[in-house]
């Protein structure tokens, strides 16, 4: 993938985004005026110690939380101040989530888990099933479609979660510690998969991690400390 051209509208842009929790004595500044731009097709790792504000930044990017001040522009459009419903629709159509704890619905088959975002889009059953199976094939789990999460290994569960995130063909894949619950070998497999999605399908990936060897898969690493960006570097990816 070519580096983004100068002057392109960033897909994700923070302008002096601050987030304050609580008030008075109990006030906590999670983000203290952050500027950040992420372009299409980028693969960004967000790093930092706990309490550095990286999770807050991720929640704001994911439209799960709103800044106290500053602006969040999605594809050049300011979305600060939208209501809950509009945030939900943004998540539904633009974003795919992968969590540390997989967050699959229990007692629900893999393919039904992958179908879930399409259900909320009101897609007809037949088309939904086709697309869910295609997404499962992309993560190499077409043979496990009828298995429930409890019948799958951690790595397989995370693959199902990735299939669920990409089945809607989102602009951005948001991964919050995607390998946090996995062993090293499985972590590599998952990261190879994420890397491939970024490289081959051009999905923009934003990933929170605290493990340097996981961050090494990204093309760019943004480090947060005390609610500010400490460093922002492009890097050579590890060979996938």
């Amino acid at each position: 993938m070519a580096e983004p051209a100068e002057g392109d509208t960033p897909l994700i842009e923070f302008r002096a985004v601050a987030k304050v929790y609580g008030s008075g004595e109990a006030e906590v500044r999670a983000l203290a005026g952050v500027d950040l731009a992420i372009h299409r097709h980028e693969f960004v790792a967000i790093m930092g110690p706990s309490g550095s504000g990286k999770s807050t930044a991720m929640n704001i990017i994911g439209c799960l939380d709103t800044p106290t001040s500053g602006d969040y522009l999605f594809d050049g459009i300011p979305i600060t101040g939208l209501d809950r419903r509009q945030y939900t629709l943004l998540r539904r159509h633009m974003l795919g989530f992968v969590f540390q704890g997989f967050n699959l619905l229990p007692r629900t088959s893999a393919v039904e888990n992958v179908e879930l975002p399409l259900v909320y889009r009101g897609m007809p059953q037949r088309e939904r099933r086709q697309r869910a199976l295609a997404a499962l094939a992309q993560v190499g789990l077409e043979r496990r479609a009828d298995h429930q999460p409890s019948q799958l290994s951690g790595g397989q569960q995370q693959r199902v979660a990735i299939a669920r995130a990409i089945v809607t063909e989102p602009a951005v894949l948001l991964a919050d510690e995607p390998t946090g619950n996995l062993d090293t070998r499985t972590s590599r497999e998952i990261m190879d998969l994420v890397g491939a999605l970024n490289r081959d399908r051009g999905i923009t990936v934003v990933m929170v991690t605290h493990e340097p060897d996981i961050a090494a898969y990204a093309k760019r690493v943004v480090r947060f400390v005390d609610g500010r960006i400490e460093s922002d570097e492009r890097q050579e990816q590890v060979a996938a």
Binding site: T88, R91, G122
Partner: protein
């Protein structure tokens, strides 16, 4: 989308069948109780109505005092032979006027004895009550006038006392005197209140007055109206005649009542309405309790499934979609309870009416109402938990363990 939601709801209910069942038990019991009671009540009403109608709609019953709900039968003087004669001679269109007084006495024949109803009347009784003398004969006018010791027995009395032997011509003991059995009534079966109409002995009214009750009063008069004459018209004439004879001033209420079968049935029906009202109150309480049960378990369910709700919200479920999901789940639960309750109630009622040999009459409106109410309970008591699910913060919900 809706079938999806329904599938989800059923999935959630099946996930914990025992809990789901216990949750709806309140509704099941409430609905079952109402359905069973109403169905049994309907069957009984139908049976009573059928039997009363079988007595004939062209018979008027004249009784002292007033009857009906909210009206105690007050102390009113009984009728006299003169009243009976006046009705027969002054009211046009009557085919029989039967004065009736009743008592209970022990009848003894050989080694057998039985306590039975003793009816004192005249041969007009057979016309008014639609009874037939199967064997033997009816009263002679001379026997009626003199108060002779003769009796016509019902089939039950005949069977218990005489068995297979012929009763006619035998002498049996009735209370304190001995009387000759001159006839046996044809079997009639159970009456409107379930009583055995063949467990009786009919004697001339004067005999009853002299030998058993010792009073000259007549406690009721059955008047049969000719089929070509309006019952209402005769009823009006009887009322006018009795007011005159009993010297009731204009503006004062009657101290007697003249009813036909339809009116007696209506009186009973109004009693049934009162009972239905009470049942409704019991049903309302049990549905309320059942609804609280559902609300309680739905709140628990929302707490348990906080993470699931978080996932759904994060991947694009709108508040309304989550609300609908939990609401449909609550309604599905309560409808399930309602349906089980209806089936259970009908089964109980069927068992009861079969044991009571009463017809099984299903009231469709009550079944529909029970169904509708159980659905409504789901909506009302499911709304609050569903709303609290829909309003969860996805970040908090996802963090929930």
């Amino acid at each position: 989308m809706f079938t999806e939601t329904l599938k989800l709801a059923l999935h959630a209910i099946r996930r914990n069948p025992l809990r789901s069942f216990l949750t709806v038990l309140g509704i099941v019991i409430g609905v079952a109780a109402v359905i069973a009671m109403v169905t049994i009540g309907n069957g009984t009403t139908v049976q009573v109505t059928e039997r009363l109608s079988a007595l004939g709609t062209n018979v008027l019953f004249v009784r002292p005092g007033q009857f009906g709900p909210g009206r105690a039968s007050n102390e009113a003087k009984s009728f006299t032979w003169r009243d009976v004669d006046a009705m027969r001679s002054q009211v046009a269109g009557v085919s029989a006027v039967a004065p009736v007084s009743q008592s209970t006495a022990t009848v003894i024949y050989g080694g057998a004895s039985r306590s039975t109803t003793v009816v004192g009347s005249t041969s007009d009784y057979l016309v008014a009550q639609n009874r037939i003398v199967a064997s033997g004969r009816g009263f002679l006018p001379s026997e009626e006038r003199s108060g002779a010791a003769v009796c016509i027995v019902g089939d039950t009395v005949r069977e218990k006392l005489f068995g297979s032997a012929s009763a006619v011509g035998e002498r049996m003991r009735l209370g304190s005197f001995s009387c000759e059995v001159i006839g046996v009534l044809e079997r009639k079966g159970e009456g409107g209140m379930g009583q055995d109409q063949d467990d009786m002995a009919l004697i001339p009214l004067r005999t009853l007055q002299r030998r058993i009750t010792g009073s000259t009063g007549i406690s009721a008069i059955s008047v049969a109206v000719r089929s070509d004459v309006s019952t209402t018209k005769v009823q009006g004439e009887l009322e006018r005649l009795l007011r005159e004879r009993r010297r009731i001033l204009p503006g004062r209420e009657d101290d007697f009542s003249v009813n036909d079968m339809a009116q007696i049935v209506a009186t009973m029906a109004s009693t049934t309405t009162l009972l239905t009202g009470l049942l409704g109150a019991v049903a309302a309480v049990s549905l309320l309790v059942g609804g609280i049960g559902i609300m309680n378990i739905m709140l628990v369910s929302v707490t348990e499934r906080t993470r699931e709700i978080g996932i759904r919200l994060a991947i694009g479920a709108l508040e309304g979609q989550v609300l609908t999901q939990f609401l449909v789940e609550a309604v599905a639960l309560s409808i399930f309870g309602g349906v089980v309750g209806i089936l259970l109630g009908l089964a109980l009622a069927w068992g009861a009416v079969t044991a009571m040999s009463v017809p099984f009459v299903v009231s469709v409106p009550i079944v529909a109402l029970a169904f509708g109410f159980s659905a409504l309970v789901g909506v009302v008591f499911g709304y609050f938990p569903a709303r609290s699910a829909a309003r969860l913060d996805p970040i908090e919900a996802l963090r929930h363990e």
